[in-house]
Symmetry: C2
Subunit: 344 residues, 2 copies
DNA sequence: CTGTTAGCGCCTTCAC
DNA sequence: GTGAAGGCGCTAACAG
């Protein structure tokens, strides 16, 4: 007899051990595990007791081998270190865990090879669904892998040819609003620093930047648009470069993600007074923006909600694979703080 | 004949289909998958070609059922939204992915129930190893689950009775240094705002806070120690409360994680001039601290490295389950910036 | 309500 | 160097 609490490091018990201990068949044990109603109350109690006593935990691999269900959803993001995507993950996990699904996060570090690798393991692990934020819409290797996958997919804010539900943020209206705000303050040269235009959000923002200028009857100086990369250094370098122009911008819109940090860092280094000498609007980093001195006006969106909605879309399609594909657009907002003013 | 590129939504091919297509037996296909050397070069080529042609991807569940290996490591953290833990995840993933392992992240939101739930699914999924950062050392349910798990475990910075490798940060020396620095500037009342002392790092920091005072021959006012929780609101409330005392602190040490945000927010709201009226030292948030105005002196540690080392420890123990348990202590550093000065 | 039985897809001896 | 066959742990009919 083994004392309860004793650590037994033998092979893990199976439903057969449980069946033996509870004096039922393996089929009955299985029904108890699966929560089938076709088990007598008293029998169920005996089985549950036996499971606990032996320390039985059903083998997920064996189950999913039989059922073709892994209770697993993949999330592919460019960078887990970005608070923006960490929020997406948190939102998705919040919706998935209560539904009995586990979220498997893959961070590609914006490497196409890593994206492909993740999509392949997603297939090998037979994930039940996938939420993807690609780092480059033009990479056809990832598209290829995505199309190979038959499980439900949700695409986050990308324009790609994949049979999938899509969640996108509203970018144009809010960026037009931001640019319009600066223009109405009197700014005529506005710098825009952002990620590569090979992803939809950046293209949308640039388009809005242009249309806002057009609406005000103002010309656009393309040298003020710096949308090519997405890291701290890029933000810092482009900011420095912009302000070194012979006719430098009097206002800056910088983001998303890490870019903003670089922009602020450069501004600090240059000793620029915000908003007296340069106005600043941030994109996608409200947490930090709000506590800077001065607090920075910024474009914000609810990434947790995006993750949550994405998870719901996946679950809904798992429940009904034939439903129509949706394209959900979630709102963004311009949060006014104290980092903008009239140009000097 | 099916055109290449056509989407086939039938059942996924198995090694039998591959075997048929390559005119070999399933055993040979299996050997090719496993990279066994006992396969003729030419045969291997035929099999590989067949796999690609049919779009075969080995079923991970079936494999792990046979091999008792899931190529999966769990990471349990209190909060994926905290940059600190996101870094741990990134570090661990960086070490695990190249080794062919997938990192399964669980964020408990500091709920013991969620920690237990994660540990249970870890067992059901037969994860090959586990890296855990518990939110409460005193919770015996989590300890119980941890001890049930026979797979290799790495514990992050907690004092708990579990057979596991341990990685911890050096907290005392650097906190003594921080407090000593403030004392040497002339501060006699220093507020300390931090997480609950039910986790080791906080206990260590409080102990260091006391010993630094003792070393300077100064008394400690326990009302200045506010180490009970870990969120933005807590930081904001305690800061406000501390500064409302009849004999308020002239310096604040605040962290880790979200607490720091709250501290800064309160300071801004109160219109406190840093460091003229209050000196400030942050804990664990160098990214933000560096761009604040003024940049904030803070205690920093390399969380990515911690995640990386944790992953290495797990892998090493998987390779050799009988090696001695290690306890690794990684350094912290006090980064001097411009947020401290003599008291007013 | 419960027992029996046949695989799920793969790896792994054991022969050849 | 390759084929044949058994079984990993579980679920899902099908009987009873």
């Amino acid at each position: 007899m083994i004392k309860s609490g004793t650590k037994v490091t033998g092979p893990r018990p199976t439903i057969r051990e449980v069946a033996l201990a509870a004096d039922v068949s393996t089929g009955t044990v299985s029904r108890v595990i699966g929560g089938s109603p076709r088990v007598a109350k008293e029998t169920r109690a005996r089985v549950v007791a036996a499971m606990k006593r032996i320390g039985f935990q059903p083998n997920a691999a064996a189950r999913s081998m039989r059922t073709n269900v892994t209770k697993t959803i993949g999330l592919l993001i460019p960078d887990i270190l970005s608070p923006t995507f960490a929020r997406v993950a948190a939102g998705a996990e919040g919706a998935l865990t209560p539904a009995g699904y586990m979220l498997l996060i893959g961070s590609s570090n914006r490497s196409i090879a890593q994206e492909v690798a993740f999509l392949q393991t997603a297939q090998q692990r037979r994930m039940d669904g996938l939420i993807v934020s690609l780092s480059d819409e033009a990479a056809k290797e990832t598209l290829h892998e995505l199309n190979l996958m038959t499980a439900p997919k949700v695409v986050l804010d990308r324009d790609i040819a994949v049979e999938a539900d899509v969640i996108q943020s509203e970018h144009r209206r809010v960026m037009e609003q931001a640019v319009g705000h600066l223009i109405s303050l009197g700014h005529r040269r506005i710098g825009l620093i952002g990620p590569s235009q090979r992803i939809r959000p950046s293209r949308e923002r640039v388009a809005a930047y242009r249309s806002a200028h057009a609406a005000a009857g103002l010309p656009v100086d393309d040298r003020l648009i710096r949308c090519d990369s997405q890291n701290v250094d890029f933000g810092e370098i482009e900011t420095t470069d912009l302000l070194a122009m012979s006719d430098p911008p009097t206002a800056l819109i910088g983001g998303s993600g890490d870019i903003f940090l670089g922009v602020v860092r450069a501004l600090r280094t240059l000793g620029v007074d915000i908003p007296r000498s340069v106005s600043l609007i941030g994109v996608d980093d409200p947490q930090i923006a709000g506590i800077l001195g001065p607090p920075v006006t910024s474009i914000a969106r609810d990434m947790i909600r995006i993750g949550d909605e994405a998870a719901r879309l996946v679950l809904a399609r798992i429940a009904d694979p034939n439903r129509d594909f949706r394209r959900l657009t979630l709102p963004s907002a311009l949060i006014m703080r104290q980092s903008t003013a009239e140009p000097p």
